[in-house]
Symmetry: C2
Subunit: 340 residues, 2 copies
DNA sequence: TTGTACGCGTTATCAA
DNA sequence: TTGATAACGCGTACAA
């Protein structure tokens, strides 16, 4: 039997109300003597309040949910830490849910979190189509939700995301500035919104430079090494590209592998750009030029917004934060000798 | 106002007991008619049971805690997934807590989890000294705890860990077999038990080969790239080692960086071995020879044990699982030309 | 300055 | 086959 507020009350010869007051610092007009005595007994009996019971009354669980595709994708640990560090500051615990981009798991996570009465949810729904999302989320409009990485174009939710079109534009522009023309593009899965926006940026940069668009240079990947590897093989064997823009670093890693197998030198024969600036891409030789998204900060920001909405009790304004991506040049990109 | 079991009962013209029975599949001797009607209303009103209230009675929250040092260390995402996947199978949610190896945060995490009445805890206390741990955990002997990565030598807790002495032995033996004699060793922080065991393995292998032990070749790192980098600089500049055994892959990455800066060729001038077999070390050129620990499996196993203890209700046997590390040879190690 | 008593949403016990 | 009611541990309005 765990010790309860009742046990403390008995031992201290006071009512449970008094004990409750001590616990919740409601000691406005209370005798110092009883306060001290209660505190002592609490120590002595090693009493810890039962949050479950408390939240029955207060309607607060001091708990938030965090839904992501897969913690093993090195993009997400940073994000998770950002969220958790803010949560800790607010004395909140966080439930972590991995969905593997599976719509079933997204919805079951949402349901589970709701049944656990979390006070809010940070949702990295990067890979979900809009319609299904809305459908899934409509379940629980009462709990504040902040979308991360790519928001729905929906007034319903706050969101924090990177300007993906700009990311796509920056990477492509960098390659064009280096005189590249045959620039391969490896996108994420077709159904993600990130992919669409990043691709738009790519197209825009080409257009601006009056480089004709060749659809054979645009291949669809999976945001994982494998996808980058296979796409790169095709681009290198069939299309003779001099540069590849992979829509995330993991796929760029795959490009490195393919290049290595084919005896293609980076950056001598091939320039490579990624997106994310994953920490461990410094390991690559040569270092990978990439577009940085401040992932940790995204997590922090999303959590911050969420807690503001929680505190304001649901009737707060929806917020959309747009983060700027920045180009980080390393040694995987190199100017093409200008052809005469 | 959320819909409650009461609302359902009203609308269905039955008692809350009946509704409760439907929810909990206790429909043994129940008329199909009422069952169907209740089910319909539940659908219609989009009712979801309140787990908080339920756990007041059942004393079960269907929630476990997972405490780790830092999710950004690429060792842990695998472990987290292992735990979470098993948890999901049991319809459990998991609270994630990062401690940064800070004893304060470990204890506050423990306290927070306990206040949230988790049914069990998986604790990766890799970096905590035995005494403080016991002190911290003694708080809550009622909740099953499974230690991971390195167990306390304590009958109190179940644990899953890798035979770290063997890991240290295997890596060193491999280098010795390649004729290396001046083998540098970069350990983890001195206060971790892993470090002690791995170092023992290193020493044992040297002894077996009758290679005299040189304490200058043993440096203490931090399990991060930075530590590996600095230690490698010292070993290469001052000690002329022909091989370095880093006690995890991250530090081996640091060794690569140092070698690259100093113009030292791997494996030509220097052989390198790590521990962990982090997924992205395939990216390194040359590929890193390392000792694999099946991290995902460790997570799974720990969670499995935890759930067995939860189901058995606390009076179960303590279990200690010892996982075998295996050597994975890639291209970072090379035989030394035998000196004549 | 302190205490009594009710209610939060659910399950379990016993009765009908 | 179904229902009334007591718990679970706590916070709080109101009373003393």
């Amino acid at each position: 039997m765990k010790t309860t507020i009742k046990d403390i009350a008995m031992r201290a010869n006071v009512s449970i109300t008094t004990v409750s007051r001590v616990i919740n610092q409601k000691t406005d007009g209370m005798s110092e003597t009883t306060r001290r005595r209660v505190l002592e007994i609490i120590q002595e009996m090693n009493y810890h309040p039962n949050k479950i019971a408390r939240s029955m009354i207060t309607k607060r669980t001091n708990t938030i949910g965090l839904i992501i595709p897969d913690i093993r994708n090195p993009f997400f640990p940073e994000l998770v830490r950002g969220v958790e560090d803010v949560a800790k500051k607010y004395h909140y615990n966080v439930f972590l849910c991995n969905t593997d981009e599976d719509i079933e798991r997204e919805e079951s996570s949402l349901r589970l979190l709701r049944e656990n009465h979390v006070d809010g949810i940070v949702f990295a729904n990067s890979y979900t189509s809009k319609d299904r999302m809305s459908q899934g989320l409509v379940y629980k409009p009462t709990t504040p939700i902040v979308l991360i990485d790519r928001g729905l174009d929906d007034e319903m939710f706050s969101s924090v995301y990177v300007d993906n079109e700009k990311a796509g534009y920056l990477g492509t522009k960098h390659l064009i500035d280096l005189q590249h023309v045959k620039i391969g593009c490896i996108t994420g899965p077709g159904y993600t919104q990130n992919t669409q926006y990043r691709l738009n940026g790519y197209l825009k940069a080409l257009e601006e430079a009056s480089i004709p668009i060749n659809k054979d240079l645009i291949l669809s990947g999976d945001f994982r090494m494998e996808g980058g590897y296979h796409a790169a093989k095709i681009l290198l064997n069939r299309e003779n590209v001099t540069a590849i823009f992979a829509h995330n670093d993991l796929m760029a890693f795959g490009v490195y592998q393919a290049a290595s197998e084919l005896g293609v030198n980076i950056p001598g024969d091939l320039s490579v750009v990624g997106i994310d600036n994953i920490k461990y891409n410094q390991l690559l030789n040569p270092g990978l030029t990439t577009i940085e998204q401040s992932v940790y900060k995204m997590g922090e920001t999303a959590a911050q917004i969420l807690f503001e909405q929680i505190e304001e009790g649901g009737e707060s304004q929806r917020v959309k934060v747009n983060m700027e991506p920045t180009l980080i040049v390393r040694n995987s990109t190199k100017g093409l000798p200008s052809m005469c």
